[in-house]
Subunit: 342 residues, 2 copies
C-alpha cells in the first residue's frame, strides 16, 4: 500500500471504490486513527491527468452527485494498439501475419515468386512496404483466413507463447502499459464495463485479453473477416473467409460500438487519429464524460511519435483534444512505469 | 414461496443457487427444522424438461462435479421470437413495420399508388402477402432506415408504449413467456450470462430487453442494417442506411455468436428451424451442454403450430431434437402459466 497526500477525491460517498477502501482500511492499518488507502493507480504520477480520472470516477459513482451515472450505463471503451499495449515498430498483428506467411510457405511454393510473399520470405522490408494496400490485404487474408475459428485461436495463442518483440526480446503481451492495466481494474472496481474497441482483428485479440487485461472475449470489438457455418464429419465449424466484414477504425469505431454494445460509452481512451470519432461520439453524450488520449512522448522507455508517424498517427485528435480540454497523457511525465517489467 | 417435493437437485453443493437458497431459507421459514426453498421456476410443471434444466445447472455449477464449468464460460443464448415472447399471427416487428409505414405515409404521397405500400395503407392483407421478399425488404428499409440510431430508439419505445396485440389487446411486451423469464433469472442467479440471439433487428430489440428480460443492450445479438457515422451542426450521429448488414438467422446464428460474443454457448434455447444451427453449434462444444426447444402446443392459452407454419416453422429441428435427446418443451403440458397476465 502507498500513502498519498491527495486522497480527497477517494472519499466520495457512495462510490464503490470508497466502500472497497473502507473494507481495506478496516484492517490493522486503522490503528492510530488514520485510514491507509491503497492507491488504485500507483503507476500514475500525481498531476492533472490522474486527478481528472479520479475526479470523473468519483463524480459519476457518487449517488448524491447530480452527475451520478447508473452502473449499467458505465461503459468505457479502450483502443488497443498504442493505448493498452505498444504498436511500434509495427502493429503486433503485422508481426503475426509475417510469421504466419513464413510458417505457411512450405504449403505455398508459388509464393517464392509472387509479391508481396516473396519479399516477406526474403525479409526484404523495402519490397514489403511498396506492396501497398492491395499487398496488405493479400497478406492479411493469406495469414488470417482459410482456417476454422477454433484453429485460428490455437494459432494465435501458440504464436504469442513463442514470438518475441524485436526491441525488448519479450513476448508481445509483456508490452502492455501497466498504468492502463491499473486504470482498467480501477474502472471495473467502480462498476464500469470495460471494452476494447480496436482497429485490429477481433479474433487476434480475444484469445488473450481476459488473462492480460481482465477483459473477456465478449467485451472485445474489432475488425473482422466474414465467417461461414459449415458441417463436416457430422460436426459443425466456422470457417474464416478471405473477405473483409467490418473495419473498426476511425468512423467505424462509433459504428462498431453501436453494433456490438448498443450503448454510448461515458469514457473513451485512445492514442491516434483512428480514435477521434470514438472520442467525439463519447463526448456527444449527455452528462459527465471522460475522453483521454495517450501521447507517446517517451523514446527511452517506449517510443516518441505523433503527427508524422505512419503508425498511430496523432494529429487531428491531438488538436481537438487541446481545443476541447480532453485529457492527454504525457507518457514521460504522467507515468512512473510504462511496462510491467520495467 | 412454494413447497416442492423433488428438491434434491437444488442441494448440489457449491452451486450459487444453493447458496442463494440457503440465504433465503435463513428466515422464519427455518422454524420447525425443515428448510423451505423458493422454487426458481414456479411456472414450470414438474417433469422431465424441468428436471433436465435443474440437473444441468446443478452439474455445471457444482465445483466437485467433473462437469463443473467456470462462471465466465456459462454463456446461454436465447432466440427471441417464439422462444421468449410470442410470434403469432406475425412477427411483432412486422406489426411495427406496418404501423411505421402508415405513420410515414403523409410524407410519402407516392406510396398511395405503389405496392406493397398501397396494400399496407389499404389494409389489404392478401396484396401484402403477394409482395414477396422484394416487398418485405422494401417495407423493412422504408420503416427501419433513414433515421439516426437515437431517433429509432425513441420510435421503437413510443410504438411499444401504444401498440396493442390484435388477439390479446395488450402491449406486445406483455406477451413474454413467464416460464422463460424465470429461466433467464435462474440462470443468471447461477452466474450464467444470458444473451438474446435473434433473427429480429437488433435495434428493435435492445430498447426494451433490460426492463422485460433483465438482458442489457450489450447482450443482444440480432440482424442489422448498415450504419454511417456523420456530423451535422457540430454534432456526431449514426444514420441507419437502407442496406442489410447481417442476417442473424439459421446458419447466421453461430456466426453472430462468434462475431459478437466470441465464445461458444453451453446452453441454447430456440423454437424453430432458424435456431437449429445455434443448437448444433452449442451441442458440438466439449463438456455438459443444454439444448432446448419450445414446442408451441397450446392453441388455447397461446398458439399451436410446428411443421407447417410459415412463421416459426419447427420441422427439421424437432426431428433432430428427438434424435439427439435435446429437451423439448410441450408448452401445454410443461408450463402452468404462459404469459405473466394469465
Amino acid at each position: 500500500m502507498l500513502f498519498r497526500n491527495n486522497m480527497r477525491p477517494y472519499f466520495g460517498l457512495g462510490s464503490s471504490y470508497f466502500r472497497t477502501c473502507v473494507l481495506l482500511a478496516m484492517g490493522p492499518s486503522m490503528l492510530g486513527g488514520s485510514a491507509v488507502l491503497a492507491d488504485p493507480l500507483p503507476s500514475w504520477n500525481e498531476g492533472r491527468v490522474k486527478q481528472t480520472i479520479v475526479e470523473f470516477v468519483r463524480t459519476v459513482t457518487d449517488k448524491s452527485s447530480p452527475q451520478y451515472i447508473l452502473p449499467e450505463q458505465r461503459i468505457a471503451t479502450f483502443d488497443n494498439d498504442g493505448t493498452l499495449w505498444a504498436e511500434q515498430p509495427m502493429y503486433f498483428q503485422g508481426f503475426f501475419a509475417l510469421d504466419r506467411i513464413k510458417a505457411l510457405a512450405t504449403r505455398h511454393p508459388e509464393w517464392r515468386d509472387r509479391q508481396p510473399f516473396k519479399a516477406i520470405l526474403e525479409n526484404d522490408r523495402k519490397a514489403i512496404l511498396t506492396s501497398g494496400e492491395k499487398g496488405v490485404v493479400e497478406v492479411l487474408m493469406a495469414s488470417h483466413a482459410g482456417v476454422t475459428t477454433k484453429d485460428f485461436e490455437v494459432i494465435v495463442k501458440e504464436w504469442l507463447s513463442t514470438a518475441k518483440h524485436p526491441r525488448f526480446h519479450r513476448p508481445f503481451t509483456d508490452l502492455v502499459y501497466q498504468p492502463m492495466v491499473e486504470l482498467l481494474a480501477y474502472l471495473r472496481e467502480n462498476a464500469f464495463k470495460t471494452y476494447i474497441v480496436s482497429g485490429g482483428g477481433v479474433e487476434f485479440i480475444r484469445p488473450w485479453t481476459e488473462k492480460v487485461y481482465g477483459i473477456p472475449a465478449e467485451c472485445v470489438v474489432g475488425s473482422s473477416i466474414k465467417m461461414k457455418f459449415e458441417t463436416g464429419d457430422g460436426k459443425p465449424f466456422l470457417t474464416r473467409l478471405p473477405d473483409i466484414d467490418f473495419i473498426d477504425d476511425g468512423p467505424g469505431k462509433p459504428v462498431g460500438i453501436q453494433k456490438f454494445i448498443g450503448r454510448r460509452p461515458i469514457a473513451a481512451f485512445g492514442n491516434s487519429d483512428g480514435d477521434l470519432q470514438m472520442l467525439q461520439w463519447t463526448a456527444a453524450g449527455e452528462g459527465s464524460r471522460l475522453m483521454l488520449l495517450v501521447h507517446h512522448t517517451d523514446a527511452e522507455r517506449e517510443w516518441a511519435y505523433d503527427r508524422q508517424s505512419p503508425i498511430g498517427r496523432l494529429d487531428k485528435a491531438l488538436d481537438e483534444a487541446k481545443r476541447r480540454g480532453w485529457a492527454v497523457v504525457d507518457m514521460k511525465k504522467d507515468w512512473n512505469r510504462v511496462f510491467p517489467f520495467q
